[in-house]
Symmetry: C2
Subunit: 366 residues, 2 copies
């Protein structure tokens, strides 16, 4: 199901990413700069760019490596960070966000990227692209810096919905496995279910139920289930995929981000304390930059919406050109691998009775 050789012809086909130029904190110039960064590195990429044509045409014209590779689609309205998802679902038509998703819906683009309002983007994505057959609750998955050999874990859901029942958590596990396999080249990802302790009797009822469901599924699908994991394992090395509901996941990643930023500012303060510490800081600059690169959120910018008919990548609202380019790269890579189709196949196969998938000769007891 996974790991089929991709023919060289398929690899050579240009891939088109539909990009929302509006709605980010830094404005369309930064988005266009991100496009230019990606275009420079990747000859195989094309763009459909959505927003005010008047604004975008001169921005694109200035970038030589975007010539003949960007189609601009005029969209006059913008979804702001303050707009409620329910409002956007009623009045979203005509916004750059809608137009961005529409190009994926119509098969004109292979994936979408937006820096806009997460709630609105999820609501419009569900409306326009619809949920994948067999998926009850889509999820947002992110990469999180970790002690794993690959340097990152996949975590989901980090905020598509505030709740998830046991069945949803099983689907998150399956989607997370597929995402980890396709984005990080892991043949046998390890899945952990987030809880307040690792003992099986701990936590909420739906978690105990999900423990059973995921454990059973691991026997027939190609992943390892490491059982319950704790918050400290999110940046740890016991699992590659961390499964949780969108409320807990959202609080966890924001706590992690807040903690990292507290340490960053304390580190800065510590180095500005005295003349000697300033000298040390200059000497330590390379080391600090190395650290900074390792935990730079821009390098892993992009939450992926899983469980929809099409790939949507949510870039951080405050992303700079490097961040936008990283989100585009992620959308490109997933499109190149036919990730959306692979994911649909995996979700569908889990719905079939296990005996249809594989007839196991050995006992399944215990």
């Amino acid at each position: 199901m996974t790991g089929e050789p991709v023919s060289s012809q398929a690899q050579a086909r240009p891939i088109t990413i539909s990009v929302d130029a509006m709605g980010g904190d830094a404005g369309p110039a930064v988005v266009v700069a991100g496009l230019a960064k990606s275009a420079k590195k990747n000859p195989n990429i094309r763009f459909i760019l959505h927003g005010s044509e008047e604004l975008l045409t001169p921005l694109v014209a200035k970038r030589r490596n975007l010539q003949n590779r960007v189609q601009i689609r005029d969209a006059r309205n913008v979804v702001t960070m303050e707009d409620k998802p329910s409002q956007v679902m009623r009045n979203g038509k005509g916004t750059s966000m809608w137009s961005t998703l529409d190009a994926v819906k119509k098969g004109q683009a292979d994936g979408a990227v937006s820096c806009g309002n997460t709630g609105a983007l999820m609501a419009l994505s569900m409306l326009r692209l619809r949920k994948m057959p067999g998926v009850n609750r889509p999820a947002i998955a992110i990469f999180w810096p970790s002690l794993n050999p690959q340097g990152f874990n996949v975590m989901l859901d980090v905020g598509a919905d505030v709740k998830a029942d046991a069945e949803d958590l099983l689907q998150f596990a399956l989607m997370g496995v597929s995402y980890a396999r396709n984005s990080m080249d892991l043949a046998q990802p390890r899945v952990g279910l987030l809880n307040v302790g690792t003992e099986e009797h701990k936590g909420r009822a739906e978690l105990k139920e999900a423990h059973g469901l995921i454990s059973k599924e691991a026997e027939t699908s190609n992943f390892d289930f490491v059982g319950f994991v704790e918050g400290s394992d999110i940046p740890g090395d016991v699992a590659d995929v961390i499964v949780t509901d969108g409320f807990t996941g959202n609080v966890a990643i924001k706590t992690g981000e807040g903690t990292a930023s507290l340490i960053r500012s304390s580190l800065k303060e510590a180095f500005q304390y005295s003349l000697l510490s300033r000298i040390a800081a200059v000497l330590a600059l390379t080391s600090l930059k190395r650290l900074s690169k390792r935990i730079d959120p821009r390098r892993v910018n992009g939450g992926v919406f899983l469980g929809l008919n099409g790939t949507v990548v949510k870039s951080h609202g405050g992303a700079d050109a490097t961040g936008v380019s990283a989100a585009i790269k992620l959308a490109f890579r997933l499109a190149e691998q036919g990730f959306s189709e692979k994911l649909a196949a995996r979700v569908a196969s889990a719905k079939e009775p296990p005996q249809d998938e594989q007839t196991s000769a050995h006992s399944e007891a215990s």
Copy 2:
């Protein structure tokens, strides 16, 4: 209700802390070293120490400043980290943990400290000390390093229970306010309710209800309600007290701890990369130590159980002597301030109809 002048006589009265010598990862020698540290700094402190008399007598005898200040109570059984709370509730009698709480129950000690199993300690505390009148769900509160002037926020619940309804969250807010006032000398603490966004329409139903309840209470009690806060605000400066359920709170603090430890190890790696970076590290040592001290979890070691008839401080299982001493200091300070009585008064006053508490001349509308 708060801030009454404490008479000098009351201040001079020796305060006795009941300490569980067993159950920590590092064993009783470290606990006794923690006692010695506290005794050295604080002439007003006395101890009742619980555990194997055979083990403890020589450990205490070696410390000169513990002479005549420690009463050892022989308790042969130990609650281990693996014991389930339900088992401990049935068979806990005779353990050092039980004996530690018993001294508080009987009024022989002014507060209890244990490095043992959190779930078991909470279960035994509820059994022995009972819930405070008017409290439905006790909570565990901790200090969390933050950008606030006082350097820390209070966060609760971080794991007493996996759930909390709107009424529980209101009680957590009141208990957190009282704790922040007594432990950090804040006259008017700012309370934030943890959610996935700051807009009032966001989040789970019980959070919206709690928002209304806490908001109303803030009008008559001496605290500010800043509304919903996000994970990034836990180490931030918008609130002094972060209120959440025990599941979310537990995941959040462990994620924060994990992130800090990932950065610590990456920082170490970055500085060991080359000869130059090693030289820089030597020069930067003072700055790094300053940072390390600022975010040192040992300095704020101690989760406090709120909502029980008596003060119980849970020290980190892996605490060293400095950590144990910090937990003892916290228990001492709370006892000295009569915190448990103040907290009971606050919870009780919130139960009364507001007009009994204060007749407000101005309109309460909006």
